[in-house]
Symmetry: C2
Subunit: 257 residues, 2 copies
């Protein structure tokens, strides 16, 4: 089986890592739209255009299912469960929201996300369809993606910024926090260090991987990984080796050039 | 006369502001390629493609001259002085480099810039063609654009990051520092506060405006301003009103949608 997924940059690699753990024999096609990154500050119309183009590209690579491994892009496709040619389509929003709802005791759920995701109000809307009485405390975290891209995950700067972003979530006593951008699991340790003990952090990559059913066809393949990048990004390639491990046999390809 | 200029986002507005001051009667066409911003972390091949497309767009708007109001894009067009159809083409690199050379006493010039500009080595190469013996101290400042976009210019975070970026420039005793990205003049005050007295900061927007000759044709027009954006960005429009002043009569247009 060939699993297709896309993100604007490296964030979706956290999803890829979880999927490889679960389906080590599957083949993967990853599209990083690095020429147009980031997606988190783009308007809905633009995200729709990029998402349509990326899905079309993955379909042209003969994949069997498509995962939108980016929360900002997922906001415009929450209700779309099939690609234009009928392949199963998964997004990042529903899995972590469902998991958060199972975990919360006080029904106060915090969401850290990009501007695009936060302003779409996708989480409050989704929770509202599932269960009344859930209070969502949303926080835009626009500086986290640049900090992760700069590999400053252990830096005092990052701690300072995280404290600022977490303050409203913690003062509103959120007992579950959704890391609502595929970059954020990389910051799980410094985020956990700031939160009170017992606060549950939802890793959207794990949540997504848990929703893909283990069917026989997903256990087939040769474990190949093709990574397509729309910009020649040495930074992406370096980070990919770091996140995937040196043993990964990824082939990098550049469709636009 | 119609002056065309482009940048990935709001940075080029600092250039536009200087040009309007100098040529208040001219008409301006500004293209903000917000759908693909930022440019500062993209590869040279991608920057070339975007620059070619943007120049072509401005030519189609019947402008009389074109300014690449983005340093990262300027790095790939330093030696190009005409557009494909023969219009005069200006870039951001040469004006501030020339001014820095006139101002430095110890021939140690600091350059703060994006990754794309720094890694292109454009400033050291350019200085080398002008005069031997200039020492260029370059510093990538990838977090400054996100901080300016978040309007955190007065924030302790920004001071902390600026101190870090300025450290190598100041310890190497640069007496002139080029603010080598059109966003950075917005940070001139906090940068000046960290530098020793007498350090000269080169504002590239001013330097560029000074290189456009005051000819009679530039004094004609009706003072119109058209701003084209490739992404529907309320943030850009808000920032444009802030930077240009409420009295500016800008028309916003969206060519892609």
């Amino acid at each position: 089986v060939r699993i297709g997924l896309f993100d604007s940059g490296i964030g979706g690699l956290t999803v890829l890592v979880e999927l490889i753990k679960k389906f080590p024999k599957a083949d993967f096609v990853y599209l990083g739209d690095t020429a147009r990154l980031p997606y988190g500050n783009k308007a809905p119309e633009t995200l729709r255009r990029y998402t349509d183009e990326n899905i079309q590209f993955l379909e042209s690579q003969a994949v069997d299912l498509v995962i939108i491994a980016c929360h900002s892009a997922s906001t415009i496709a929450l209700e779309t469960t099939q690609t234009p040619s009928g392949l199963p389509l998964f997004n990042m929003i529903a899995p972590s929201a469902n998991q958060a709802l199972m975990c919360t005791k006080n029904k106060r759920i915090g969401v850290m996300a990009t501007k695009a995701t936060t302003r779409s109000q996708i989480y409050p809307k989704y929770f509202n369809t599932l269960e009344k009485g859930v209070q969502v405390i949303s926080q835009e975290c626009p500086l986290l993606v640049p900090l992760v891209e700069e590999e400053l995950t252990q830096d005092e700067l990052t701690t300072l910024i995280l404290k600022r972003y977490l303050k409203p979530l913690l003062s509103e006593k959120a007992d579950v926090i959704i890391l609502g951008c595929t970059h954020y699991p990389i910051l799980k340790t410094p985020i956990a260090a700031i939160c009170p003990e017992g606060t549950q952090l939802i890793d959207p990559a794990e949540a997504l991987a848990n929703t893909i059913p283990i069917v026989e066809s997903l256990a087939t393949g040769s474990g190949r990984l093709e990574i397509y990048l729309t910009d020649h990004s040495p930074h992406f390639i370096e980070q990919a080796h770091h996140l995937l491990g040196d043993s990964s046999q990824a082939t990098f390809l550049f469709p636009e050039t």
